[in-house]
């Protein structure tokens, strides 16, 4: 009963938020259960201690130094400057290396993307020239072809001249 009823009720919400019904149930149970009685006392004291601490924190914040905000902001700015100077130190240490690497990467990019494109332009111009090897061999003009009669006459004219 103790482990799964009263203690669970005590821990489920702030002690001050327990309703009258819940408190009555707890008190009834506690009257006949020594271990729950101790848990109830402990929960009450725990709630009181936490409340006291919170009240004191509020009072301390009310009595806080009026320059508290200024000091916090100054500390914050100082931290920011420290982080900026840390970045600067990092840049000083690695700046040359990073610059060299960036330049190398840029050069490689130029060689990769710009140089091959100049090759393709030369190919394009070659394709535009009408007298390629293929065109000379394959695209011979029909006008250049000799007829069978011409061939025969050329062959036999030599024979005729010999006779």
């Amino acid at each position: 009963m103790r482990d799964n009823h009263i203690t669970e009720m005590l821990d489920s919400k702030p002690f001050a938020s327990l309703s009258e019904t819940e408190l009555a149930t707890i008190r009834t149970h506690v009257a006949g259960c020594a271990s729950c009685s101790q848990a109830y006392d402990a929960a009450q004291i725990s709630a009181l201690l936490i409340k006291e601490r919170a009240d004191e924190a509020v009072e301390n914040s009310l009595n806080a130094n009026p320059f508290f905000q200024t000091r916090v902001m100054a500390a914050w700015r100082e931290r920011q400057e420290q982080s900026v100077s840390a970045l600067r130190r990092l840049w000083n240490a690695t700046g040359a290396l990073v610059t060299t690497m960036a330049a190398t990467t840029a050069a490689l990019a130029v060689l990769t993307f710009v140089a091959p494109s100049s090759d393709t332009t030369s190919q394009t111009t070659a394709a535009l020239v009408p007298y390629s090897a293929e065109s000379v061999v394959l695209d011979q003009n029909d006008n250049d072809q000799v007829t069978d009669d011409q061939v025969l006459s050329a062959i036999y004219s030599d024979d005729d001249e010999g006779r």
Binding site: F15, A43, S46, L48, I50, A54
Partner: protein, 127 residues
Amino acid sequence: MEGWLTRIATNTCLNLIRTASRRPELVTAELSEDETEWLERKVTEGSSGHQHNVEDRVVAADLAERLLEGLSPEDRLALTMIDGEQASVSDVAEMTGWSESKVKVRAFRARKKAREALEKLLGRKSQ
């Protein structure tokens, strides 16, 4: 903007507590005479009511601080805000960036741990 700053401040504080905390167990032997007397009085008198005596308040605050030291920073935050400052679960969830169920679980666990630590103290004291 305010919520964002609050969340950053909360997380920064949690990290600071996390790195600084040792989480020692609160034991009777470590209690001062005033603290033991305060506890005994509270058990016999009952714990209702605000501490009007300045000395009592100092003792209570010190004891509370030591009690909270035994909790994890997250549990401590949930317990302090919900039980101490009467913040709602949704307020704590918004401030920390946790889900509401996580806040509830943290608060439940913290209450249980704090109660059990005090129970131990009261049990040892009565032995």
